[in-house]
């Protein structure tokens, strides 16, 4: 039994025989007697065959991967048809009297070196493309199989140094139960492909992995980044049980997607969806959403070159509300500024837009933007369960100011004899630390809170989530953020108000036990996450989670908290991610 540790590149676990993905070495021998005209014919034929191969891969990529993936092969096609490349190969054959493979090898290498020498990520990728194309032509000239997986016959764990885009497209996905690469990282092409296909993968397991013989049984634990070759029977049995348990949860999640999320001890929480348009509404409903926890309204403003009219907004909101009938739909008023800018609004550039005049702050000084939206929302409410939510609130007075504008709109509509529901609930996003700290005061002004964990994390940790250098600090699993969440929920419940969450955290499997334990009433997430989140909640005991959450919030770091949850609730460790 040999156990290797790498990095988790794609979660999940599988068991299967080893299939070593070894590319045959391209050995080019110097020929003593070269007939240039024969070599030219050989080269032309090989280039034609290579074009056909690439065309086939391109078409396959179009049907199963993203368009961007397929474009790589268009680039390969262009390289192969490049006049400078072709002229160089032909000249070498004619003038230096060398073989077609030697000429191709030298030409490809020299162009690739030129690109690599530019010290630029874009050119480095082109250098790889050129070598990929060169090696393809060489394989044809040397009569070597196009891809080593031609011999792949049974479902296996593919072990490789790293895989190129052409390798992965040509793989028969039905026969791959896992990937393990000796090198590579969680962002390598293989890792991205594995995640897209939902196949477990471990990256960077080390060179030892390449020494394992074909057919050896291997356990691939993509969740924990572990690979075990020739495992003992008892370990295989143990993993089979875990794989089976995970599969059951996923299957049940889909089967019961539309059933309520009732915990083991009988607490029912609401699971709703974040959406941004009508298509999202349909998708949310199909996945079992019990309403909308966050209707982003920015789409109407981003799609146009001028402010959307009240009528346009009314029609759009109505369309979405009709999908949900009497289910609750929380409409968030316009949230622009910061990272979302809209040219025609004529907003001044700000040195620090995340701390600038964005969202409600902007709406309060721009009634020309704010009032048409509120009037449209009120009008659309007729016959539905619409709630209105203001983003980016820092103080109680902002809520009163916003309510004043809403009251004005309501009074206008009444005067004009236009109907609207008069018992619409009003809430705010809690995403600024100041709002969280005085949540007891704010709770008196509203009907509900919805915690926006993405912004709450970056403002609490003072770390810009769009800056990769500090983005790791903007993690909602930091105890500082989770403690604010705890205080917000406590303060709201004390005033008899309910609390939802519409940040990414609400759909994160490892966060669900914590949020349930902290007493969150409503979980709002992207439509695809709903079935699994509901199934996880059904398998938890709310009372027990209260204790676990208390203990977790005394830990120091996101890693400690995540590991603690994995340890206490093993089934979540298997399916998270």
């Amino acid at each position: 039994m040999i156990e290797l540790t790498g990095i988790s590149a794609s979660r999940g676990m599988s068991i299967g025989p080893v299939f070593q993905f070894v590319r045959q070495k391209l050995e080019i021998k110097e020929k003593s007697l070269v007939n240039p005209s024969e070599e030219l014919v050989r080269f032309n034929l090989a280039a034609e065959t290579a074009k056909e191969q690439i065309d086939r891969i391109y078409k396959k990529a179009l049907t199963e991967s993203t368009h961007a993936d397929a474009e790589i092969f268009q680039a390969h096609q262009m390289i192969l048809e490049d006049p400078e490349l072709i002229t160089s190969v032909k000249k070498k054959i004619e003038n230096e009297k060398i073989s077609a493979e030697m000429a191709m090898q030298q030409t490809g290498q020299s162009f690739s070196d030129m690109m690599a020498a530019m010290n630029d990520e874009y050119f480095a990728a082109r250098a790889t493309d050129i070598m990929d194309v060169t090696n393809r032509v060489l394989r044809i000239l040397l009569d070597i199989a196009e891809t080593p997986t031609a011999n792949l016959k049974e479902p296996s764990v593919i072990i490789a140094d790293d895989l190129t885009p052409s390798d992965t497209v040509m793989l028969d996905k039905e026969l791959v139960v896992g990937f393990c690469t000796a090198q590579g990282s969680a962002t390598s092409h293989t890792a991205i492909l594995a995640r897209g296909l939902g196949i477990p993968a471990v990256a960077g397991a080390g060179m030892e992995a390449l020494k394992q013989e074909n057919g050896t049984m291997v356990i691939l634990d993509g969740t924990n980044g572990k690979v075990v070759f020739a495992p003992e029977e008892s370990l295989i049995a143990d993993y089979r049980k875990r794989i089976e348990a995970t599969r059951t949860i996923r299957e049940e999640a889909l089967k019961y997607a539309k059933e309520p999320a009732k915990t083991k001890d009988g607490r029912v929480v609401e699971v709703v969806s974040n959406i941004g348009n009508v298509e999202g509404a349909q998708c949310a409903l199909e996945n079992g959403a019990e309403g909308v926890g966050l209707l982003r309204t920015e789409f109407l403003y981003l799609e146009q070159s001028q402010l959307p009219t009240e009528e346009q907004q009314y029609q759009a909101y109505k369309g979405i509300l009709e999908v949900f009938g009497k289910m609750p739909v929380i409409l968030r008023t316009l949230d622009v500024g910061g990272d979302k800018e809209i040219a025609y609004m004529g907003l001044e550039a700000e040195a620090n837009s995340f701390l600038g005049q964005r969202a409600l702050r902007l709406c309060l000084v721009r009634p020309d933007i704010f009032k048409p939206q509120l009037r449209a929302a009120l009008r659309a409410s007729v016959g539905h369960n619409l709630k209105i939510m203001f983003p980016m609130v820092a103080t109680a007075s902002e809520i009163r100011d916003a309510r004043k504008v809403l009251d004005e709109c309501a009074a206008e509509l009444t005067n004009e004899g236009i109907p609207f529901e008069d018992d619409i609930e009003i809430g705010i996003m809690v995403e600024i630390p100041s709002a969280a700290l005085v949540a007891d005061q704010l709770a008196k002004e509203v009907d509900f809170f919805s915690i926006g964990t993405n912004d709450l994390s970056q403002y609490t940790m003072a770390a810009d989530r769009t800056n990769p250098k500090v983005a790791a600090l903007s993690d909602a699993f930091f105890p500082a953020v989770l403690r604010l969440v705890r205080e917000v929920i406590k303060a709201a419940h004390k005033e008899g108000k309910w609390v939802g969450m519409c940040g990414e955290l609400a759909g994160e499997p490892l966060a669900l036990p914590l949020l349930l334990g902290l007493g969150l009433d409503e979980f709002s997430m992207g439509p695809p996450m709903i079935p699994l989140a509901k199934q996880i909640l059904r398998n938890l005991d709310a009372k027990e989670m209260e204790k676990i959450a208390d203990q977790a919030l005394n830990l120091e770091s996101p890693d400690q908290i995540k590991n603690f949850i994995k340890e206490k609730i093993p089934f979540i460790a298997e399916i998270s991610g």
Binding site: A75, I79, D82, E84, R126
Partner: protein
């Protein structure tokens, strides 16, 4: 022979998609077409075949570089016009 000078002003210069569009446009014409530019640092002269993606890429044309497009052949006028128009429109980018 027909010739035109133009400054490449789109964001990425003659790389990535713009480079590929440039080569595809050049391939539409019968004339022999070349692109000349000067290395901004070394002032070294560089020329590439406009129909070669590898040639164009290795020219290293970034935003703000002046290039000279030269065409020689039956449709030299149309070729230079077509390529200049493409560069002028910033390759259809924003």
């Amino acid at each position: 022979m027909k010739e035109a000078k133009i400054i490449v002003d789109n964001k990425v210069g003659l790389h990535a998609r713009p480079a590929s569009l440039f080569v595809q446009e050049a391939a539409k014409y019968q004339s022999e077409i070349s692109v000349y530019c000067q290395d901004p640092e070394t002032k070294e002269d560089r020329t590439a075949n406009a129909k070669s993606i590898l040639g164009i890429l290795t020219l290293g044309v970034f935003q703000g570089t002046e290039i000279t497009i030269t065409a020689n052949g039956d449709d030299e006028e149309a070729a230079v016009e077509g390529l200049v128009a493409l560069v002028q429109n910033n390759f259809g980018e924003e």
